[in-house]
């Protein structure tokens, strides 16, 4: 019968129990809920740790008549949709994801962690390390192999971002801005000619002219969150576009040789008048502002892009005229998964330093790891990081499944960035005085973490995105 079909099936997982208590749903009307059910292909003795996420909207009518039938441990799910992969931990990932995890982790341990402090102190772009990353295929991670990329999926990207950022958050943002913000839009909306010129040499490091890096110019001095109010203009003059304006807060500005720039071709159309352009940064009229003196991620350069009558060929328009805003928003959705990965890396690095310190530092006659205050902190840090990681993996898996992932990506970025700042903050607290000095990396993680709540969509914007998508769903149901 209809009601029986509504039976949801979940395990009493302590971790998720907090979120999915049955009393919340008892006699509740129009809901959409996350369904947890056992995935068949993973054979684990204790199925408590399996999750498969699928979203289901249950109509108000059906629910209001349901009673205790809502709770049943053995019932079958209504519909098995979406991501049928069920990865709870790294050990359950498919082989290639585990290999990427291992490779990135050892790369970060050997090449990045030992040098990150030095790079941060000197504000030095780690060219050698980034070149090595490019040689490993990490600077073209999602690009198709036809254009020199590694053709990996979003989940691989998220995992790689986390491990690399664990070693050095600056290298993380360099990699993320290059992959998600520069390569993705051109790879997705570009013509083959554009891809040959602006994707292929940037996805590999095999061209003999060294490392080629790209950047993404959306924010301006006058608007960050308000991306639709772009004031950089693009005017068609014969068979050239002429760009005028300034872009602010651009990552990789000083190392990049090409940029994806958003400019308005018709201010009256507001956000529908924005178009995307590929701009070679050696064009006449193109100049860079001074490097910003940042609180964190200091090894990556951040500066203004200044365009004064910059002329680019007509066919450097990316996508269609007026499609720019949509390109920007969709690009940022994927970018959020990358930044969430970066924030997770910072959180993980903070947990590493705090846990190791707590096991060695003694106070009151024993290692501080045996004191409850410290245990509570480390536990909270681990839960925050792990839950953000699952949100990130979920968003990545939805993207890989070609499903809508706007809300999930925003949730991942929001959760991960807040986890990063919390973990870094508590890591300093656990280290005490040692957390405040540069001898230990905790202070660098604290400074690096802060930006994750700001760029690629501030936390406040993420809330708007999530709420907007949430309400859209309820409006559809009623």
């Amino acid at each position: 019968h209809r009601h029986q079909k509504l039976l949801l099936y979940w395990h009493s997982i302590d971790f998720f129990h907090y979120f999915f208590r049955s009393d919340i749903y008892y006699k509740a009307s129009h809901l959409s809920r996350v369904e947890i059910h056992q995935h068949n292909s993973v054979h684990i003795k204790n199925p408590i740790l399996e999750i498969t996420m699928s979203l289901q909207t249950i109509s108000r009518r059906l629910l209001s008549r349901s009673t205790a039938t809502l709770v049943s441990k053995k019932s079958k799910p209504l519909v098995t949709t979406m991501a049928t992969r069920s990865y709870l931990s790294h050990s359950q990932l498919p082989e290639e994801h585990k290999m990427i995890y291992d490779m990135c982790r050892s790369f970060a341990d050997n090449e990045l962690s030992p040098n990150a402090g030095e790079w941060d102190k000197k504000h030095e772009f780690p060219t050698d390390a980034v070149t090595k990353l490019a040689e490993l295929g990490m600077m073209g991670i999602n690009v198709s192999s036809d254009f020199g990329g590694s053709e990996m999926d979003a989940l691989s990207y998220a995992i790689a971002m986390e491990e690399i950022s664990r070693g050095c958050a600056s290298v993380g943002v360099i990699m993320s801005a290059h992959n998600s913000l520069y390569l993705y839009p051109i790879d997705t909306w570009g013509t083959d000619a554009q891809k040959e010129q602006f994707v292929e040499p940037y996805a590999t490091c095999a061209h003999g002219d060294g490392l080629k890096v790209g950047c993404f110019g959306l924010s301006e001095p006058g608007n960050g969150s308000d991306a639709g109010a772009a004031s950089t203009t693009a005017t068609l003059d014969g068979d050239e576009w002429v760009l005028n304006g300034t872009k602010a807060w651009i990552t990789n500005a000083h190392e990049a040789s090409a940029a994806v720039v958003f400019a308005t071709t018709d201010k009256d159309l507001k956000h529908k008048g924005i178009s995307a352009f590929i701009v070679p940064m050696d064009a006449e009229g193109f100049s860079l502002g001074a490097k910003e003196d940042k609180l964190g991620i200091r090894a990556s350069s951040t500066a203004n892009l200044i365009m004064d009558q910059v002329r680019i060929p007509k066919d450097y328009l990316l996508g269609e005229q007026g499609q720019g805003f949509k390109i920007a928003m969709q690009t940022l959705d994927g970018g959020r998964i990358g930044v969430a990965g970066q924030a997770l890396g910072i959180a993980s690095a903070s947990i590493d330093v705090a846990a190791k310190y707590a096991l060695e530092r003694e106070a009151f006659g024993k290692p501080i790891a045996q004191l409850q205050s410290i245990q509570n902190k480390l536990s909270a840090m681990a839960v925050a990081r792990d839950s953000a990681r699952l949100l990130t993996w979920r968003a990545a898996m939805l993207k890989d499944n070609k499903e809508r992932f706007v809300r999930e990506a925003a949730m991942a970025k929001l959760a991960a960035s807040e986890a990063a700042t919390m973990c870094a903050h508590q890591a300093i607290q656990v280290l005490g005085g040692m957390g405040y000095v540069s001898d230990m990396p905790a202070e660098r993680h604290y400074r690096d973490a802060r930006i994750t709540e700001i760029y690629e969509g501030t936390s406040e914007i993420q809330h708007l995105v999530i709420a907007g998508d949430l309400f859209k769903e309820y409006k559809q149901a009623s």
């Binding site: 082989e95 290999m99 990427i100 490779m103 050892s106 490993l136």
Partner: protein
């Protein structure tokens, strides 16, 4: 001979080098422990791949004796570094000396050498779990091939392309040897620095062929699968004692002479 040279490389799955093992019930507890490719085997794989890249060899085959799931992972790592194909001999027995022992491993390798006819077998000098270092020499003995253990450098020999010139590290210094192929070589730390697997290679590794066989097929063919050495006791090494502070060099010398008896 080089152009057609096949190399067989052993890749052992061991406890990760960074893990602190626990002794429990007179055995090492392997549950939930991180396992990885033996570092010396990794060096052997790197050497084999380099030889292939410099056209000294045409095919590299990686061989693992290990559990159904874990062994394939180890092989994929080797494939991602550049080996052409793999042979996975599945067994649920422990491969860290407690159940599958060097004698069995050597006999299995001899069987594979008879089948594949490589000109060179590259192995790690020892497994970091058992620290035996026996498979290389035993295999050479079974095959009646020359062996060079603890290789620290490897290049083409002076006498044409069926010879190799190697440096061999011993406790009393480094020897320079020239060996006639076919030969067994075990690799030491200074031979090379293993590469990171590139992402494209990780993807390619998925498609490379891995031939899976159960260890019992070797048993049926005459290989002795039983352990002949019984481990009586396993204990942790004594924990590190605190040092002492000496007042001056004279006291240091007298302590070294009279108490530590090292001079």
């Amino acid at each position: 001979i080089f152009q057609k040279m096949k190399i067989l490389v052993g890749v052992k799955r061991v406890v990760d080098y960074a893990v602190r093992v626990r002794v429990a019930n007179n055995t090492i507890d392997l549950s939930n422990i991180k396992m990885s490719l033996n570092p010396f085997c990794e060096i052997a794989v790197e050497q084999a791949v380099r030889m292939k890249e410099s056209k000294m060899a045409s095919e590299v085959i990686a061989v693992n004796i290990g559990p159904a799931k874990g062994g394939t992972e180890t092989l994929r790592t080797a494939l991602a570094m550049g080996c052409d194909r793999g042979i996975h001999i599945t067994t649920e027995q422990r491969t860290d000396f407690l159940e599958v022992q060097p004698r069995t491993v050597s006999q299995i390798f001899k069987s594979l050498v008879d089948e594949e006819e490589p000109s060179l077998v590259l192995l790690g000098k020892q497994g970091i779990d058992s620290d035996c270092g026996q498979v290389g020499p035993m295999l050479a003995g079974l095959l009646n091939w020359p062996q060079v253990t603890f290789a620290a450098s490897l290049e083409q020999g002076d006498d044409g392309d069926s010879t190799l010139k190697l440096d061999r590290e011993t406790d009393s210094g480094t020897e320079q040897l020239q060996v006639q192929l076919p030969s067994v070589v075990t690799c030491d730390l200074r031979l090379n620095e293993p590469r990171y697997a590139t992402l494209p290679n990780i993807m390619k590794a998925k498609k490379k062929k891995v031939d899976v066989r159960d260890i019992s097929t070797f048993g049926d063919a005459g290989v002795d699968l039983e352990p002949h050495l019984q481990v009586l006791e396993i204990t942790e090494p004594p924990s590190r004692q605190a040092g002492i502070v000496v007042q001056d060099v004279d006291e240091l010398v007298s302590k070294l002479k009279d108490e530590a008896k090292v001079i």
